[in-house]
């Protein structure tokens, strides 16, 4: 378990402020934020590599605020894997046991176990420079896990990989985590990566925590305009609530009125995710939110097509490719945008 209490850290230009966070034992937590948000500094602070200006760090119930990094039982894996270039893969992996003066038979046993787990036996005698990106990462993870740390810190572990190995390593990370049940803190700037791995997502911006919650909550109920933008909610309209009946609020923005099944009457933004929009040629019936407009741009995103519809305000609508191909839409086509009141999130 990781407990951070009112953490303040200043490192060069980065500043972490007022970070309060509890990560339960065995949980896979992803810290999500843009470049320069202080994500790496946060990990390094937990590992004991920076002096705190203020606050406490409690790991598994023990206050380690003043403890040296080597005594915390926390392993860190950096984005570029930081393998020791002068040591072979084997020497890299057993480094943590060597410095602890572990006996040879135990080292051999642990090496056998971990290299089996990551299937890296054939690499043991090679030097890091000769490994591929995916192999380096496996070695870095093996090195981090052989000492059986209580906590694993991953700093953008997938960013340096190409799309294919990224998918493979993503599932391997999940598997390893589930197998060893190790408390994991994973830092990334990639929203999709966070969604696919996290039990809990911590959104961080400019050194402060912006929102904490399970992926679905971050996805559907961003707590601020920043979180909504960062999770690519796309349709973020500023305006205000002008009415409220038993079932829904009425949110006014530019020329349109949006019905939302939310009771946040103080809201300044209405957020509707682009996946939640329906795009039809005819006016749909029985849907309270439906607006006519014309197609402005069509962007092919592979699996999905992003259609921008001009109807003051402008809506962005993400259609599954198959559905798009069955419709006949071109730039300028008159269409209707519609969505359920339950798809509208007010903040």
């Amino acid at each position: 378990m990781i407990e951070l209490k009112n953490l303040h850290v200043k490192v060069a230009d980065f500043l972490l402020e007022q970070v309060d966070l509890v990560v339960s034992k065995g949980e896979y937590t992803v810290i999500l934020g843009p470049t320069g948000a202080g994500k790496t500094v946060l990990l390094e602070s937990i590992a004991g590599l920076h002096a705190l200006s203020h606050g406490e760090i409690i790991l598994d119930g023990k206050d380690v605020t003043g403890t040296a990094p080597e005594a915390r039982g926390v392993s860190i894996v950096y984005q570029d894997y930081s393998l020791f270039p002068h040591l072979t893969v084997k020497e890299n992996i057993i480094f943590g046991l060597r410095v602890r003066h572990t006996a040879k038979p135990q080292i051999d046993e642990a090496l056998h176990w971990i290299s089996g787990l990551f299937e890296i036996q054939p690499l043991l005698n090679r030097l890091p420079a000769s490994l591929s990106g995916g192999e380096r990462q496996k070695v870095a993870l093996a090195r981090a896990l052989i000492t059986r740390p209580h906590i694993l810190l991953l700093d953008e572990p997938l960013s340096a990989l190409d799309a294919e190995s990224r998918e493979e390593m993503r599932s391997q990370l999940k598997t390893i985590h589930d197998k060893l049940n190790i408390t994991t803190l994973h830092v990334t700037h990639d929203f999709e990566e966070a969604m696919s791995l996290a039990d809990t997502i911590v959104v961080i911006n400019q050194g402060k925590i912006a929102q904490v919650g399970p992926p679905a909550e971050i996805f559907y109920h961003p707590s601020s305009e920043f979180v909504a933008r960062f999770t690519m909610a796309r349709n973020i309209f500023s305006g205000k609530v002008i009415g409220r009946d038993t079932k829904s609020s009425v949110f006014r923005c530019d020329a349109i009125e949006i019905f939302a099944s939310s009771d946040n009457t103080k809201a300044g933004f209405a957020v509707i995710r682009p996946e939640m929009l329906q795009l039809t040629a005819e006016k749909p019936i029985l849907i309270s939110n439906s607006f006519p407009g014309s197609v402005k741009t069509i962007v092919d995103k592979g699996a999905n097509i992003l259609v921008t519809v001009d109807c003051s305000p402008q809506f962005e609508c993400l259609l599954p490719r198959q559905q798009f191909e069955h419709m006949v839409i071109n730039t300028g086509s008159p269409v209707y945008i519609s969505f359920l009141p339950s798809s509208v999130h007010l903040i």
Partner: protein, 274 residues
């Protein structure tokens, strides 16, 4: 004739298209030749039998051995004291760091005779440290110890700077990872940092050794006798003239060039390693 005019034509057209390269190459060639010709002539065109004779001269031999030995001791002391300083400068920020870094480079630009005077002013028999050391029987004037401190003063910046660059090139995250894996600061230093900076440190040590061997200005002030080879060259030149000093100079240049080739070799392999 046709062939020659063709060659001239192609050279001219190359010059036309690559005027910048052509002009720069000519200017560069001047400075390269300016450095190359004197050294080459000293080594290649001095009489081989005279070289041999000079080597057999016991006073020459003695001074060469003394010089190599003193410079080796100097390099060892520099290694012991300079590497830690280089590490601190590469890894830590502290008040006056800029001043310390500037101070380290000063011996390179300070006139070496003035450096010798400054050292004598502190280590001389009648001054400050000199007095204390004299009391325990160590004299820095006209002695091996004097040669060593003079060499140390002028050559240690080369080691410190080379080692500092070596330490700087190492990603701090390697050290961070080693710490989290359970290594104490000492273990990190001798298992990760030092091995990775080793080539730069070795190159710096060799450079320092060569600089020590070649020092004249500072040494001659502190210690005329026993005579290091630089001083011997100067004395022979002043006493007997050019021809007598050429063989000794050639020998010393060859020794320094050899050490220096080792240094380049280490650096070269270092680059490949990156």
């Amino acid at each position: 004739m046709a062939v020659i005019s063709k060659i001239i034509h192609s050279v001219c057209s190359w010059l036309g298209r690559h005027r910048l390269l052509a002009v720069f190459s000519i200017l560069s060639l001047l400075i390269v030749l300016f450095i190359f010709i004197p050294l080459a002539k000293l080594i290649l065109f001095s009489d081989k039998s005279e070289l041999w004779q000079a080597l057999l001269d016991p006073s020459v031999m003695q001074s060469i051995l003394l010089t190599l030995y003193a410079a080796l001791i100097t390099a060892a002391i520099g290694f012991l004291l300079g590497v830690p300083l280089a590490y601190l400068l590469a890894r830590n920020n502290f008040p006056l760091k800029g001043v310390v870094e500037g101070l380290i480079d000063l011996p390179i630009v300070v006139p070496h005779t003035a450096a010798g005077i400054a050292l004598l002013f502190v280590f001389g028999r009648n001054f400050l440290l000199g007095k204390w050391f004299n009391a325990i029987g160590i004299s820095f004037v006209d002695s091996l110890a004097g040669i060593v401190i003079a060499m140390l003063f002028v050559s240690v910046p080369f080691l410190i700077n080379s080692a500092k660059d070596g330490f700087r090139k190492i990603d701090v995250r390697l050290e961070n990872v080693a710490r989290t894996l359970g290594a104490s600061p000492w273990q990190v230093f001798y298992r990760v940092t030092f091995p990775l900076a080793w080539r730069s440190i070795l190159a710096g040590t060799l450079m320092m050794w060569a600089r020590g061997i070649s020092e004249f200005g500072a040494v001659v002030i502190l210690t005329y006798y026993p005579m290091v080879t630089s001083t011997l060259i100067y004395e022979r030149f002043a006493t007997y003239g050019l021809t007598q000093s050429v063989p000794v100079a050639a020998i010393l240049v060859i020794i320094c060039a050899f050490i220096f080739i080792g240094f380049r070799f280490v650096l070269q392999r270092d680059r490949k390693h990156d």
